[in-house]
Each structure stands twice: as C-alpha cells, then as structure tokens.
Amino acid sequence: MTPRRRRMVAMTSGLVCLVAATALVLTAFEQNMLYFYTPTQIAAGEAPEGRRLRVGGLVERGSVRRTPGSLEVRFDVTDLDRTITVAYAGVLPDLFREGQGVVAHGAVGADGLFQADEVLARHDENYMPPEVAEMLEERGHPPDASLP
C-alpha cells in the first residue's frame, strides 16, 4: 500500500465510523430531536408526562376565544385528527391566525388543558402574492391548509 492509499483508506474509514456513530446518536435521541409533538402523539401517550413540552399543529378555525379585557386566550390546536385546547396569556406573534401553524410551549394540566407560556407561529414553505392566495381560496384550496 502506498502512503497515499493508506491515508485515503484511513480517512474514508474514519468518516464512515463517524457517520455511523452520529447516526446512532441521532437515532437514540430521536425523541429529543423533535421540536414539538402533535396532538395525536400526546393523545397516544407518546409525549413525556408531567414534563414541559411543545405541541404543534394548526389553529382550528373558529376556536380562538379571547377573554375581554385581558391577554388571556384559548384556542384548539389540531393535526386534522386529534385536537388539544391551549390556554395562553400573552402577546401572540404577527403570523398567529386561525388555520395557521403554531407551536405552543408548556405542559398539560390535570384537566387536560395545555397551559402554554410561549406561543410561536410556524410559517410553511409556501410563498405567493395575495392575489394567488385569493384565487386558490376561491377554487377551494386554501393555501394554509397544509400541516406543519
């Protein structure tokens, strides 16, 4: 084996081992790599109980209920299968609206209510001018109906 070949073999096998090790670590920490859980995962008990977590999904249309005179708001987060009700008191981001993807950070209370202390809006990968969005809406394909 020439020294050059030896160096190449050493580097290639080193990289292969490194990739394998990284893949193993990432698989082992899979649950922690998830930024949020869906309402279905929480209903199925896949989310850690009694711990703080994030729940992600779409804000169900017509579900936003505000308490007049305060910042308190309740809304349902859905993955089009299961739904979880989120309670939050604070300023909501600009992109927050019904039908929009959101991620709420908090914990599930004993009453099944998700008490959030942070609500972030999640934008999808679609960009279009307002006219195109209106046209899609008229044709029955609202542009924000995609899941996060």
């Binding site: 990289l15 930024y35 600009d94 972030l120 307002p130």
Partner: protein, 249 residues
C-alpha cells in the same frame, strides 16, 4: 488513486495564481451586478407575500447566505481532504481561504434569520430546533477551524490539524440540510430544492435565483483573492513570488 493531470497542472501555485488573477475581476463584476439586480428585483419588483407582507423579503439575503455557508463548508472540507490524502498544498490554501468567507455567510444567515424570526415566529431564537442548532454548530466549526489553524506555529501541522476538524465537521452538513425533514421543527421546510415544483411563484422566485448566482460568484471571487494571498505567503521564498511582487510593486 491519482489525481487527473489537469488538476495537477492547475495545482502548481504560479499557474493557479495567474489563472485566478485573470478570472477574479470578471467573477467579482458579474457577482456584484447579479446582487444589484437581485436586490432591486427582490425588494422592489417582487410582490408582497399573502401572509407575511413585506417581511418575507429577507429570504433574498437569508437563503443565499445560508446556501453559501454550506457550500463553502463543503469546499473547505474537500480542500482539506485533498490536502490530507494527496498532500496538495494549494488545496490547503483554498480551504484556509474559504473559512472566513464561510464564517461570514453563516453569521449573516443566523442574523437575518433571527431578525425575521422575531416578528414572524415571535422569538429571535428557539433552542431545541434542529435547523437553528445545527447551523450554529457549523458557525463554531468554522470558528474552530480558524482558531486551530492560527494557533499552530508550523503551517503544515496547522493545515493537517485544522483539516481533520473540517473533514469531521462534514457530518453536520446533511444534518443541517435534512433537519427540517427528519424531525419536526420550527423552521419551515425547503421551498426551492424539493422534488415537487417550487412552492413560490415565479415573480418572487427569479430575484432569489439571481441573488444566489450573484452570491456564489461574489464569494468565489473573494475566496480566490484570499487564496492568492495565502499562496504568496506560503511560497514567499520561491522565485516566481519574487517576480510577481517585483512586477506588482
């Protein structure tokens, strides 16, 4: 495995120096022109977004910066790998030249992303998002490469040690790329580089593509300038360098 002959010829420092000096101004000019056209198209001609209004226009800077940050990392790692295996000095010089440019683009991508995140997501940063974290890791890999390189006195030792770090860090590139697909994340998925048609209308897309081309040309020109300086420094005892310096002065 041997390297092809033309690559060996190009890898001779004086030859590289001459070719780079010749194509550099064209790349720089074309790159800056494309960036000017893309900026004008993106900020003034493209329509506002149906949800984000004008705030989405940050993609005309954020996406090219993030793209270049990753491409330059790949360049730095490939240069280091060729240097490590074939002991090619020019490859090391190019890797060292690419690092600060890549670091700058990574910083730009992080900064523009945070500025957009505050009004849109509701937060500058969110720990736990795999995309954000893996790009921050790349930022520190660039920084680590540069610090390691600068801290070792002997240049060939520095090249090798920092080169190994660069090659090891390659593992991070697919993690950045696929983080938004493998795991749920706050960061949105890919818009352009997905198998279906791009999820963006043409009048919003073209300035972005022009910006990306401009950023590639601009960063290559800057990288080549740095690589030439690097080559001069490394070959400072050689006769051709004394000739170049004499002509330049």
């Amino acid at each position: 495995m041997r390297l092809p002959n033309w690559l060996h010829k190009l890898a001779s420092p004086p030859h590289f120096y001459r070719i780079a000096a010749r194509i550099e101004p064209w790349m720089l000019g074309a790159g800056l022109a494309a960036i000017a056209v893309g900026t004008f198209g993106g900020l003034l001609l493209a329509p506002p977004d149906y949800q984000q209004g004008d705030a989405y226009r940050i993609i005309y800077f954020h996406v090219p910066a993030a793209y270049l940050a990753m491409q330059l990392y790949a360049l730095m790692a490939i240069g280091s790998a060729i240097g490590l295996v074939w002991r090619m000095k020019l490859a090391y010089a190019i890797a060292a030249a690419a690092a600060p440019v890549g670091l700058a683009f990574t910083g730009l991508a992080l900064a523009t992303g945070m500025l957009w995140g505050k009004p849109m997501w509701g937060a500058y940063w969110s720990w736990g998002d795999a995309r954000l974290t893996s790009v921050l890791v790349m930022f520190f890999l660039y920084l680590g490469y540069m610090l390691l390189h600068a801290s070792l006195e002997e240049r060939s030792t520095a090249d090798r040690a920092a080169g190994i770090l660069a090659v090891v860090g390659v593992v991070n590139l697919p993690i950045i790329k696929f983080s938004v697909e493998w795991w749920s994340s706050l960061h949105q998925g890919p818009t352009i580089s997905r198998l279906a048609a791009p999820a963006i209308t043409w009048d919003m897309l073209w300035p972005l593509l022009v910006m990306i081309v401009g950023a590639v040309l601009f960063s290559l020109a800057v990288m080549l300038t740095r690589a030439r300086a690097e080559v001069l420094l490394r070959e400072r005892g050689a006769r051709w360098v004394r000739d170049v310096v004499a002509v330049g002065a």
